[in-house]
């Protein structure tokens, strides 16, 4: 990694299709920190991540490593939920070499980089396969390797394991943890899964329900790695986060008239 970079959101607001989706979000993420973003469906987690990635314009200040974000950039790698983000006509190796090639790495450098990161995610043996020949979990590993090949200082992940089965997800969670330690990158990780957040994050950030969603709670996860989800402190945190998000979900259901007072 070149250098570690922090992220600062300063009064960030996003308007999409006439709706103010998120408003007034302030968040400071330290260099090398692992932050998980939790919140009810549709509150604006992806939107916030897309703002940091530079895909979506926002009001307020968005800074990465002290520089204002004005668009996508190679120092911020993005792992998407859907493997549709891979280039299906390129082999696994070619997908991983896409970034290095752009920055002018030679053929042998490219080969070396793709080998290193494909080995890191345990997919070197599948280098010459096409994405369509891989399982869902393998495809997500390719996405991760492709991002790592650019050696970004910030990695943004939007529910990268949301479409995977529980076993595969567990394996990949351990891998992300390992990669984070190995690279020292700053990671922002969006998830629906409270356990996943507790397992991985230094801090868990929850959001309130939208429109005009904002940051609700910031919880520090003060547990040593490797973490045990059955640890009483982990369970207490889990309960706290569940209630925190649950109350937001109820708020939104009530707003839509889907939840009556008795049922609540």
């Amino acid at each position: 990694m070149t250098k570690y970079e922090g992220i600062r959101l300063d009064g960030v607001g996003v308007t999409l299709g006439g709706t103010e989706v998120v408003a007034n979000v302030d968040l400071d993420i330290a260099p090398g920190e692992f932050v998980c973003l939790l919140g009810p469906s549709g509150c604006g987690k992806s939107t916030l991540l897309n703002v940091i990635a530079g895909f979506v314009p926002a009001t307020g200040g968005v800074f990465v490593g002290g520089h204002e974000v004005k668009g996508p950039g190679v120092e911020r790698g993005v792992v998407f939920q859907s493997a549709e983000a891979l280039f299906p006509w390129l082999t696994v190796r070619q997908n991983v070499e896409y970034g290095p090639k752009i920055r002018g790495a030679s053929r042998s450098e490219c080969a070396e980089i793709s080998e290193r990161y494909l080995r890191l995610v345990g997919l070197f043996h599948a280098s010459d396969k096409l994405p369509s020949e891989l399982s869902g979990g393998m495809r997500q590993r390719v996405q991760i390797a492709r991002v790592l090949a650019n050696e970004p200082s910030v990695i943004l992940m939007d529910e990268p394991f949301g479409a995977l089965d529980a076993q595969t997800r567990e394996v990949l969670q351990r891998e992300v943890d390992r990669i984070w330690r190995a690279t020292g990158a700053t990671i922002v990780f969006v998830t629906h899964d409270i356990s996943e957040a507790i397992l991985l994050a230094d801090r868990v950030v929850t959001m309130s329900v939208g429109p005009r969603a904002r940051i609700k709670t910031v919880a520090k996860v003060d547990l040593e790695h490797p973490r045990d989800l059955m640890d009483p402190r982990a369970l207490a945190l889990h309960r706290m986060l569940r209630d925190d998000i649950g109350s937001e979900v109820n708020k939104s259901l009530r707003a839509q008239g889907l939840l009556t007072e008795e049922a609540a």
């Binding site: 859907s82 280039f87 006509w89 896409y98 752009i102 991002v147």
Partner: protein
């Protein structure tokens, strides 16, 4: 708790059952042969009860085909028509694909060309035959130009639709991996659009057969359209049948060839027939 349970419930698509009759016993090839033999049989029966000038029998048609083959007319007609189609269609691809890409990618080019696209959608090539002959003469040029017109139109529209359908995710992935506008166009948009180009090319090839017949009938010199039209002068209805059947086979063969070739060449771009 029921609230959370409901929110978390994933919707799963119900497993689809194959529709009834899609599992007909016996092989597909046998069915095809049976269908063709049955068709010829019905044709034969009908021709027994009708004068040959109105409906020649299968036998008359085969004899007519042999006659046309022996004096070389049939081969010449096939070559002439195929040549025109391939040249006009090829040129149409070469021009239509870039126009479609540019229209899809640059809004201002789309806006600029849109009125013409919207207008010419309703003008079939057949309506332009007269003009083509007046402007380009009755020779090769006018016929190739009409095929070109058919092809450019279909290929442009399909390519344009393909560019518009490139998943946003893929564009974002390319951008955050460092690809600029030109590289994204070349390494993401064009490859993503290949299946649409192939669809456009196949539609255009089919329509080229419609167009070639009308063009060759108007300025009848050679080609399958001319053969069909001129047979009338000799009261040889079986030659009309020969022309029609050969046209059908030729079109089928071209389409299969194109389908097979594009599946072999572009499988990894998502072309699968």
């Amino acid at each position: 708790m029921s609230v959370q349970g409901e929110v978390m419930t994933a919707t799963r698509e119900p497993r689809r059952r194959r529709p009834f009759l899609s599992r007909w016993p016996g092989s597909g090839a046998a069915m095809t042969v049976a269908s063709i033999v049955g068709g010829i049989l019905i044709w034969q029966l009908l021709s027994l009860r009708l004068p040959p000038l109105f409906l020649p029998s299968p036998r008359d048609t085969v004899l007519g085909a042999i006659e046309l083959w022996q004096d070389g007319t049939l081969q010449m007609a096939i070559l002439a028509s195929s040549g025109r189609i391939l040249v006009g269609w090829g040129l149409g691809l070469v021009v239509g694909v870039p126009i479609g890409i540019l229209m899809g990618h640059f809004r201002w080019i789309r806006t600029l060309l849109d009125p013409y696209i919207e207008f010419f959608r309703f003008i079939p090539p057949i309506a332009l035959v007269t003009l083509a002959v007046i402007w380009l003469g009755p020779g090769e040029m006018s016929k190739v130009a009409l095929i070109f017109y058919t092809t450019v139109f279909l290929v442009t529209l399909n390519t344009l639709a393909g560019v518009r359908a490139v998943p946003e995710l893929r564009l974002r992935a390319a951008a955050s991996l460092g690809a600029g506008a030109v590289r994204t166009l070349w390494t993401v948009i064009v490859p993503s659009t290949v299946p649409y180009m192939v669809t456009g090319a196949r539609l255009a090839l089919g329509n080229s057969f419609l167009t070639i017949v009308s063009a060759e009938i108007v300025s009848a010199e050679d080609g399958l359209g001319a053969l069909i039209w001129l047979a009338r002068n000799y009261s040889r209805t079986e030659w009309v049948f020969v022309g029609i059947i050969v046209l059908g086979w030729l079109g089928y063969a071209f389409d299969r060839l194109l389908k097979y070739a594009s599946m072999r060449l572009f499988a990894r771009y998502g072309v699968n027939g």
